[in-house]
Amino acid sequence: MQAELIARAKALLADGTVARVLGWRKGDTDFNAEPAVFETAESLDEFVYDGFCGANLSKYMIKNSKLEGKTLVFLKPCDTYSFNQLIKENRINRDNTYIIAVGCYGKLDINKIKAAGNKAILSVAEEGATLKIHTAYGDAEMAREEAVLDRCKVCKGGKHVVYDELASFVDEEKPAAEGRFDEVKKLEAMKPEERFAFWQGELSRCIRCNACRNVCPACSCIKCIFDNNNYDAAQKVNTSSFEEQMFHIIRAWHVAGRCTDCGECSRVCPENIPLHLLNRKFISDINEFYGEFQAGEDTTSRAPLTNFTTDDVEPSIVKERG
């Protein structure tokens, strides 16, 4: 499938349809491919598309779609939602974009492979449902299933909501996984003090590196209020536990109704804080209060928080539902 994508990209570059290609470049190991822009056919030889290409490229299109000429971008099913949402918010120039929809069978998480006890990994090979892991301390195998990112376990399905052409290996029919809100429900079922303890434990690890924010396609503000001294809220570190909460509550609230649940925030968190749960809680609330809503499904509908009906639930619902 990688060869197919390279061939298409080269063809589109050659016939002048696109001026550049946004994809992934091989890393110096099997598992650290990076998002990259390719402008020549030769450079595309470094292009890679495999299980470790988890990064969502849609946010890079804010920058790239402003450039002269079209940009070819490869989007996985879940990335297309982010892309659509950015179109809705006028952040991306769709006309300047050429999208090849690529299939996805769940992206791999190197941390899970490491957590399974593999140290000093020299290579990882995907062979069907099995991963062959070669390390300095010996070789190992593990089921691919066990090494996929958490977000892929609750995959939204194989459908691409926006694209110009589909790659051959795309499975648009791939069903959505069940249980997307299970973790949220589990927390909801806890007592408030348990929930508080849980989040204290998690958020206390936050080092305020802003990776979650900077990777988030919805957090694409020209300047974040947490960086802006005009707002009286700028912070560079979490000097107290309040600031951890403040940052993550406001961040999640700002993207509520706009977050497509792409899961990048949790993927990039160096401290493994399950940040996606905050976003997913908002999604689950919005679904419950205002009807099912999937951000990025289209480019025109009003986001739930910039919309209303006259008979919306009252805030007291939070108290009433126990």
């Binding site: 990064a55 301390y137 590196c209 900077n214 960086d227 000097t239």
Partner: protein, 342 residues
């Protein structure tokens, strides 16, 4: 040399914590970071790398400097107390130990950073050799021996426990204070085996000895205008993961916080990856992410050697592991300086 068994280790930690603050790797919900010892914490000496480095011990992510209060229109300034009590930083890996040397160059040179100096004076570093180095380790590039910790006390993993060797006076004193829990033993042979083991693994790791000949003092003109930077930095999100996990990044900002009954002035880490880094009234700090990205690596690999005669990277590999988009100093070194492992 002493030996301490795995069973005795918790007691040892407790004993140290009784008289001194103890800063050590603690596991919190599967993630290990340095933190202060508490009765119910889960010390974790097995994890090779904590997410954040040990640098917090001497240069915490944020620290109060002084507070200003007003009453009846008068200002009162109360300074934060300097560190005045010995504390132990435990389980520091050799790369992090070296990072203190880098920090010392910055903070102990004139004018001396008194807050840092006070902590350095009172800190006792207990280091632990890297039992199982990882693929992202490249400390040997900077002549750090993962098998030979250079701290107040050095420790090695050996069968059934750890070998313990005091290397300095501070280390001796600490050893004396907990001698009851240590077992005098001739473990030199086991330590030697461990060292060999570590070195053997390092030799097969892909990055263990990178070629950094393209970098170092005087290389500014060669590298600054390289077209490579654009390509290398293209995917950079501008987050602070690399800087905040880095043991040698030493940049900070000074900020004020209005507590309602006064203003507390504190300093906190800053990241050169941030667009408001070193922003001041003139408003023309580094404008593009490429410039910021270049600054970070040029600083570590060229400017610091220019000024201090040493690289300010210790090859711990944290940024290699943690960069959200898999950009890192190893890629920079390899791409700009040739691909070979020497």
């Amino acid at each position: 040399m002493f030996k301490i068994t795995n069973d005795q280790m918790p007691k040892l930690l407790k004993a140290i914590a009784e008289t001194k603050d103890l800063f050590l790797p603690i596991n919190n919900n599967g993630v290990t970071n340095f933190g202060f010892y508490k009765e119910d914490c889960t010390p974790d000496l097995d994890t090779l790398r904590t997410v954040k480095s040990a640098k917090d011990a001497f240069f915490p992510q944020s620290e109060g400097l002084y507070a200003v209060t007003t009453e009846d229109g008068k200002f009162t300034i109360s300074e934060e107390e300097y560190c005045n009590k010995d504390f132990v930083v435990f389980g520091v890996r050799p790369c992090d130990v070296r990072s203190f040397v880098v920090l010392d160059k910055v903070f102990l040179s004139d004018p001396v950073d008194t807050y840092y100096a006070a902590r350095r004076e009172h800190g006792i570093v207990v280091s632990l050799a890297c039992h199982q180095p990882d693929e992202s380790c490249f400390c040997a590039t900077f002549d750090i021996d993962a098998a030979e910790p250079e701290a107040d006390v050095a420790m090695w993993n050996i069968e059934g426990g750890y070998a313990w060797e005091a290397k300095t006076e501070k280390g001796q004193a600490l050893t004396e204070s907990i001698k009851a829990l240590l077992e005098e033993a001739d473990v030199a042979k086991e330590v030697e085996t461990e060292k060999n083991c570590i070195r053997t693994i390092l030799s097969v790791l892909p990055n263990s000895k990178l070629d950094v000949s393209a970098f170092g003092a005087g290389k500014t003109d060669d590298l600054f205008n390289s077209p490579m930077w654009t390509e290398l930095s293209n995917a950079c999100l501008g987050c602070g993961t690399c800087t905040f996990s880095c043991p040698t990044c030493q940049c900070y900002d000074i900020k004020d916080f209005n507590t309602g009954h006064g203003v507390s002035r504190y300093r906190c880490w800053d990241s050169c990856m941030y667009h408001d880094f070193t922003l001041c009234a003139h408003g023309t700090n580094r404008q593009t992410q490429m410039q910021r990205f270049r600054q970070r690596f040029m600083h570590k690999l060229v400017y610091f050697p220019d000024r201090e005669g040493m690289f300010s990277c210790v090859g711990c590999g944290r940024c290699v592991d943690k960069c959200p988009q898999s950009l890192n100093i190893v890629k920079v070194i390899k791409r700009m300086g040739g691909n070979s492992n020497v």
